[in-house]
């Protein structure tokens, strides 16, 4: 926000208060008017003092009438949202009329002898509060002139004296000492009061300005903090390094309200800075060349931990490429170090098209952003390192297993040619031994295949582009068909329940992998359910997601095994007992695949009663249900 609009806002707030006090004066005047009428009517019966009744009552009534006018006008002004200038002009009228009324009151209650002259002080105070010093001063001079005029005109009998009969034992208005004394003290009191009030209210007004300014600053700071908070939330909502960096530069430039922002990180040798993310800079500027620490004093200073403000890029010797900045339209820069736990990571820099744009406030604020950003960047870096490690490990596993697969597969085939009798006769004992060897190679083969699946899945995150819309219902149907015969052989009832509806239920997936998920789940269900049991596969739409549950009446999963179920190579004890040759990788693979497709898997089981696995996937197209 520019300082111009800020000061305009400040004024408007002061004016708002002024407008408010306008109403307050009107309310005060009601009291004054009524007071004049009451006192006029009561001095005679109560104090036996006689005053010119008629003129005083008229003055009091006039006071109330013009106040009524002001009251109506003010309501109108408020409704029309009149400008403060209108109020100010109306205010002058008020003061003028008030002073006229005051003068009349004084005149009709004894002139210089009237005790009401003290009331003039109120008026001076009020005028001094609401008007600028000079106008307030004129008003107090006017008060002095008015009162002196009455006193002198009555003294010289030019104006008829209107005594409050019974108030004084003898008239004083022609007593020169009295008149001179009162006038002298009144004049000095009026001027001193005016001076004091002007001083005080001026100070108050200045304070008021300061408060408004402070409020402004606080509001701006609060807006920034909010933006910072939001920025931090966006930045932290991902662990992917490039995303973290890009979000950081964008939100920082936006929060600080400047043209551009960049992040440069130190390379491994810590000799150069590499631009890793920018917002608002042209491609040409980014291609200006490498940033060598040796020839870039600014970068060195920042990396030493300082926040460096370059108010004018034309006037600095700190930059390596000042001409490029000028050409890019950049006039000032502010740089803060990005400092990690153990080392400096790089530089966060803001660019403004304005000279001298950055303030001390901006420096503090950028430092705060840089501190937060550093944490996010370091987290993302750590996460990436872990991911890389995992990917490397998976690549290794994949290479090894791939090499293993070929010989195992051939060995298996070779054994099979003998047991199938293609290589001549073998004795029953030889056949038995060969079949045992064959079973072992089968197991080895399966283990290798599972490991390959797992490693391939972990090698890289599935990209959205790899996925295709798959008709879920068909994939499940194929798997169910595959197990119809094995289930019959085991005397299990195998049932597939699906919703009746038009159209297909589509999910985003890789068909083979999706097949593998249900193949593993149904295969497990068939394997771990004893004869005469049942396996039920149910496809449904639940809370906007596609849900497939595979429920069996099998041996169940012991409670202690639940938490390890999806761990690599883990097999529940009762499963091992029933089938010695499982790899313990099937469910790990299932979970891996389901997660990659944005789905979830859950399981509930009752040992000895059965197990139900449920997988859910986001739907990209739902069928029309009947």
């Amino acid at each position: 926000m520019s300082s111009d609009t800020a000061s305009r806002r400040t004024e408007s707030l002061v004016e708002a208060e002024w407008i408010d006090s306008f109403g307050w004066l009107i309310r005060l005047r009601w009291v004054a008017g009524v007071g004049v009428l009451l006192i006029t009517l009561t001095v005679k019966p109560v104090f036996n003092i006689q005053v010119p009744l008629q003129p005083l009552l008229i003055t009091g009534a006039a006071l109330l009438i013009y106040n009524l006018c002001f009251f109506l006008v003010e309501r109108q002004l408020k409704r029309n949202l009149a400008s403060p200038e209108t109020y100010l002009r109306l205010g002058l009228w008020q003061v003028a009329l008030d002073w006229l009324a005051m003068t009349l009151l004084i005149h009709f209650s004894g002139g210089i002898e009237s005790p009401a002259i003290f009331f003039f002080i109120f008026h001076i105070v009020i005028a001094s509060i609401f008007y600028p010093p000079r106008i307030a001063f004129y008003f107090s001079v006017l008060a002095v002139v008015l009162l002196s005029s009455i006193a002198l005109l009555e003294y010289f009998s030019i104006l008829p004296h209107q005594p409050a009969v019974g108030f004084l034992r003898e008239p004083l208005y022609q007593n020169p000492f009295y008149v001179a004394g009162i006038l002298l003290f009144f004049i000095s009191t009026a001027l001193i009061v005016a001076y004091l009030v002007i001083r005080i209210s001026d100070r108050l007004r200045r304070r008021e300005h300061e408060v408004v300014q402070l409020t402004e600053n606080l509001q701006r700071a609060s807006a920034r903090l909010q933006a910072l908070n939001e920025g931090a939330r966006t930045v932290n909502s991902t662990l992917e390094l490039s995303q973290v960096l890009n979000r950081l530069v964008k939100s920082t430039a936006e929060v600080m309200g400047v043209r551009a922002c960049s992040i440069r990180l130190l390379d491994k040798e810590r000799k150069r800075l590499e631009t890793v993310a920018t917002f608002g800079l042209s491609q040409a500027y980014l291609e200006k060349g490498p940033i060598d620490l040796e020839s870039n004093p600014l970068a060195r200073e920042v990396l030493d931990g300082k926040i460096v403000n370059v108010p004018d890029v034309r006037q600095t010797t700190l930059l390596q490429y000042p001409d490029w900045a000028v050409q890019e339209g950049i006039s000032s820069m502010l740089s803060a170090p990005l400092v990690g736990k153990n080392k400096t990571l790089g530089i966060l820099r803001l660019y403004s098209e304005e000279k001298d744009h950055f303030t001390a406030d901006d420096e503090t604020f950028l430092a705060a952003i840089a501190a937060q950003g550093s944490v996010a960047i370091e987290n993302a870096m750590a996460y990436q390192a872990i991911e890389d490690l995992d990917a490397n490990k998976s690549t290794f596993v994949r290479m090894v297993t791939h090499e293993l697969r070929s010989p195992v597969s051939v060995t298996r085939s070779l054994l099979r040619t003998i047991t199938a009798g293609y290589a001549g006769d073998v004795s029953p004992q030889q056949r038995d031994i060969l079949e045992r060897a064959s079973r072992r190679t089968d197991y080895l083969q399966k283990l290798i295949d599972d490991l390959l699946d797992l490693a391939a899945g972990k090698m890289k995150e599935t990209q959205q582009g790899d996925l295709e819309p798959v008709v879920l219902e068909e994939v499940v149907q194929r798997v169910v068909n595959r197990f119809t015969v094995p289930a019959q052989e085991k005397q299990l009832s195998l049932e597939y329940r699906k919703p009746t509806g038009e159209g297909n239920l589509l999910v985003l997936a890789i068909p083979e992998d999706l097949d593998r998920v249900f193949n593993n789940l149904v295969s497990n269900a068939v394997k771990y359910t004893l004869p005469h049991g049942s396996v039920t596969i149910t496809l449904s739409i639940y809370q906007g997601e596609a849900r497939v549950s595979v429920e069996d009446t099998g041996i169940g999963i012991p409670e202690g095994a639940m938490q390890h179920l999806f761990e690599e190579f883990y097999r529940a004890p009762n499963a091992k007992e029933l089938d010695r040759e499982g790899t313990g990788l099937g469910l790990t693979i299932v979970k891996d695949i389901v997660t990659r497709f944005g789905g979830q898997i859950s399981v509930r089981s009752e040992p000895g009663q059965g197990t139900c696995f449920t997988v859910t996937f986001p739907i990209i197209k739902a069928p029309r249900m009947k």
Binding site: H402, V410, S413, A456, E512
Partner: protein, 133 residues
């Protein structure tokens, strides 16, 4: 009647043995080649009725090149008399690899994929099916 001729193109001698034994047993005449080049020569020389081809020999794609050459629709092709000879491709590329293959007329002119290890019964059944057709 002369037995049907089958050409096995595979660089792994053990693998060739596991393929040859059941096929010989079933009465087919077998010839073998250990490389792409040898395979192409053998096609001209032995005029097989069916070719069993390993997908990965020297390079990842040499098996495919072989299939494309044999099945070329180019009328000037040296192999045009074989462009309808069925090819059964053996894959040990697990389905998880970035290249996922499906028999597809435009993309890959082979008749069948068999994943290693191949069961002898499955092999015989597949061969029988394509030779009958």
């Amino acid at each position: 009647m002369n037995p049907k001729r089958i050409l096995i193109v595979d660089d792994d001698p053990d693998q060739r043995l596991t393929l040859r034994l059941p096929l010989v047993n079933a009465g087919y005449a077998i010839s073998e080649a250990t490389s792409l080049e040898e395979g192409l020569n053998a096609v001209q020389k032995d005029k097989p009725d069916l070719i069993i081809l390993d997908v990965m020999m020297d390079t990842m794609t040499s098996g495919f090149q072989f299939a494309l050459t044999i099945h070329s629709n180019d009328p000037k092709s040296a192999y045009k008399e074989f462009h309808k000879t069925p090819i059964v491709m053996l894959t040990s590329i697990h389905s998880k690899t970035p290249m996922r293959f499906r028999p597809d007329e435009d993309y890959l002119p082979v008749e069948e994929f068999l994943e290693k290890p191949v069961e002898p019964e499955v092999l015989l059944e597949t061969v029988r099916k394509h030779l009958a057709g």
